[in-house]
Subunit: 484 residues, 2 copies
């Protein structure tokens, strides 16, 4: 019914606007029939789905600016989209938006090894950058689990993290400059290359993680890093979640900063072992830790010895060091495809993303257990333990009436537990439409007001990615209703 | 003459406003006679000096909010000030401001070792934090050279760096949360503790380094770090600046990330050896490098060996490793008091602060030499070479007619050279009033406009720290004239 209404609306305006898009990007680069646009009805947060007005594929900054200017002048809501792997609905159309897909702007424009930076277009796939520069001994650090398909433009919008952000930081720590098309069509450049403290306000930080609500990023200068001389990876199995949690704290207390420090609980292990990359983890353990150390070769072995000792002190059941890159690679493939692997043990799942002070890990994990019992839904935990960045995966079956809403509510309860523990409602997946109401757990009305006023500076007509990131009167109600 | 005019203006309004301040903070906490306020006429950038309207010393957030609200309601320009060690005039009154001095809000409110954070008031001195927590094995990383006196509130305003920001990042990388009094007197909290990607816009990043133009920071949650298990420090003397520069690049290329990588040229060495902390550096060398590596003990020795090898490959004249903490401490005292030491070889000096891509170090240093010859002023270079963060110190004598302006122009020419080399006009000292015109070297009118619109969101009446950070028509002219 809703779909039909939308469709009719598109048809009424079609000739006029769609033909304008044809002129800007060429006829082949515009989708406008609902059937062609099905995969653009949502991103990786699939609970909300709405049809866009059109999907257009610009090939350069000039075309993006022309599209944005056209939308601004004609009062058409619009949003930018990368690979659509976002997990909070940031690229989901809510208002019949024109989607500006940046997947055809996928060039690696330049690499400057001496000053350790590269310039990419927003549609360039995260992992392609590391693949392109690894022969010279360099890599790009932010490594979201979707890195083999997600785009760096999308990473900038969401300030994406990844398993290795414990040591290396999230996307914002690796962005040196941006070219941005502002919501009025102006093109601006922000950030200087390699400047520790750029003069003026930190617009680079402001834009990074703004979830596509302040401008459309058309070019990105990123920091590249020299490959660590050596890596070692430890896998540790525990019979008690508390022992694993304590090992996490003890490793950090020992002064070691692992490149990654990941945890999975029993339900998660069941999922990954049923998924596409099983590695033979035992099913009867309570938790596992995956710990990686990297750096110059000297000293790595000593750190590994210390990590093994910490595990033993915390009653580890079994612990081993990866024998070679192949084994390390298998362990990571098993971990990084973990979210998707939940599909093997549940028809549907909802990924949550909260953050807590590391010291409160055992207590919050126990609260998540209680939430699981209360809502009668299994919850798997795969997460960046070193950062205190939890990812409860709420398993549900959308065919059971009301179960989708139950999963959403259980997710919200998990976020409440995180925020009550002094943490926050998102570690790396963003707010999007998913967590708009939960923003009230952590922000007062005045604080939300201060933020929305910034949006108005950049985006006075509020045409760009409407209804995302901040609760607005009316909008929240509408979003909540749409969940049914 | 100017001073007298200002004095008269103060007197006319004195009773009314000054008495209001008495009521808010108590009579003893208000200065309002010009003679009492002399040391508040400027900060560490002494070229501009103007008398404030009053200096008030609040003791808590409530008093700050009441003062700010009073100023807002009575249309009184105001600004916040820490220790006044800033080098770009950010705390200098230009418009007969009410100065809110935060030096009496100097408490360390709490330390949470387990989650590695501390909460301080803005007037807390940078080095006091490390001193307070070092017995437990922790420290606070940002270490501007003025750290023994500068306040963490001022560090937040300027996004202060320091010798160790090469490895550890600048202030913004160590701030987890802020309590801020907005220019209308509202109190807001921003940032979550330890969250890699805080939801909403990055206001924490926006406020940090905003040079006191967006709000008055009244409480700061900072990250604290575990002391590195071991440190080693290398001192290397070179006969050619180019050899030293190449050693810098080669160390980074070797995959080593030193905690600090500092350089001084011959003129700078002359200054520090005449200053309060001479250590016997030879006077006949062209440049020295001070290189520190830290981390877990295993591996440090190998890194030092590699650094020594790099120095030898680059024709080092003499190279040595600090024998103990005492020797290391002497080398650092000599370096950190370097700016002030210029007073020993010149009646006046102007510190500049530009950034360039590391690879262009030799070329830009040569340009600075040319600027020195052209303006007939000696220029010493003491700088964070690893970051490409230059600090040309322009030596002059303000008693010679026109020489102050010549020094300012030479400084501006140095910044132009940096920006033309693909760098920027400030690495860590901020823009303040000093570099307001130079903002045009790197920002277009549209970009400056986007930034000033953000200021208007926070600071609609433009009462807070007027005339700083961004060029405004009229203002620039006025500032330039005042330099005479």
């Amino acid at each position: 019914m809703q779909l039909m209404r939308r469709k009719k609306k598109v048809s009424a305006n079609q000739d006029h606007h769609i033909e304008a898009f044809f002129k800007i990007v060429g006829e082949k680069e515009v989708l406008f029939e609902d059937v062609d646009m099905l995969s653009y009805n949502c991103d990786g947060f699939t609970i909300h789905q709405h049809s866009p007005k059109a999907v257009v594929f610009p090939k350069n900054t000039r075309e993006v600016a022309a599209l944005v200017k056209y939308c601004a002048q004609n009062d058409l809501p619009f949003l930018a989209r990368g690979a659509g792997t976002g997990l909070s609905g940031g690229a989901t159309p809510l208002n019949n938006e024109v989607i500006i897909s940046l997947v055809k702007m996928k060039g690696l424009l330049s690499v400057d090894y001496e000053n350790r930076k590269a310039v990419v277009q927003p549609g360039y796939v995260n992992l392609h950058l590391t693949n392109s520069i690894s022969s010279k001994g360099y890599y790009y650090a932010p490594d979201p689990s979707s890195q083999y398909v997600c785009t760096i433009g999308g990473n900038v919008a969401e300030n994406a993290g990844g398993a290795h952000c414990l040591k290396y930081g999230v996307t914002t720590n690796h962005i040196l400059g941006l070219e941005v098309v502002m919501p009025n069509g102006d093109i601006i450049s922000i950030g200087e290359d390699g400047v520790p403290d750029s003069p003026g306000y930190d617009l680079l930080g402001l834009l990074t993680g703004s979830e596509g609500t302040l401008g459309v990023v058309t070019e990105i200068t990123v920091r590249i890093l020299k490959n660590p001389e050596m890596k070692q990876t430890v896998l540790a199995y525990f019979d008690q979640v508390e022992d694993g949690s304590r090992a996490v704290s003890d490793i950090i207390s020992a002064g070691i900063v692992p490149a990654a420090l990941e945890m999975m609980d029993q339900t998660a292990i069941e999922g990954v072992e049923e998924g596409s990359f099983p590695v033979g983890h035992p099913r009867d353990i309570a938790a596992l830790l995956l710990i990686e150390v990297d750096g110059i070769a000297a000293g790595i072995d000593e750190q590994i010895e210390e990590i093994l000792a910490v595990c033993r002190n915390n009653h580890v059941k079994e612990v081993k060091v990866a024998e070679d890159d192949a084994e390390r690679g298998r362990w990571w493939a098993n971990r990084k495809t973990g979210f998707g692997a939940m599909g093997a043990i549940s028809p549907d799942y909802l990924v949550q993303d909260g953050v807590i002070p590391r010291s409160r890990l055992p207590e919050v994990l126990e609260q998540i257990n209680e939430i699981s019992r209360k809502y009668e839904l299994r919850i798997a935990n795969i997460f960046h333990a070193g950062d205190g960045n939890l990812h409860p995966l709420i398993l549900f079956d959308s065919r059971n009436p009301g179960e989708t809403q139950k999963a959403v509510d259980a997710g919200s309860a998990c976020l409440k537990a995180c925020s009550d523990a002094g943490g926050s409602i998102t570690g790396e997946h963003g707010v999007g439409i998913e967590k708009i109401e939960e923003m009230r757990f952590i922000f007062s009305d005045e604080e939300i007001e201060a933020q929305t006023r910034i949006r108005e500076v950049f985006n006075p007509g509020n045409l760009l990615n409407q209804g995302k990131l901040f609760p607005m009167p009316g909008r929240c109600l509408e979003v909540k209703k749409a969940v049914q």
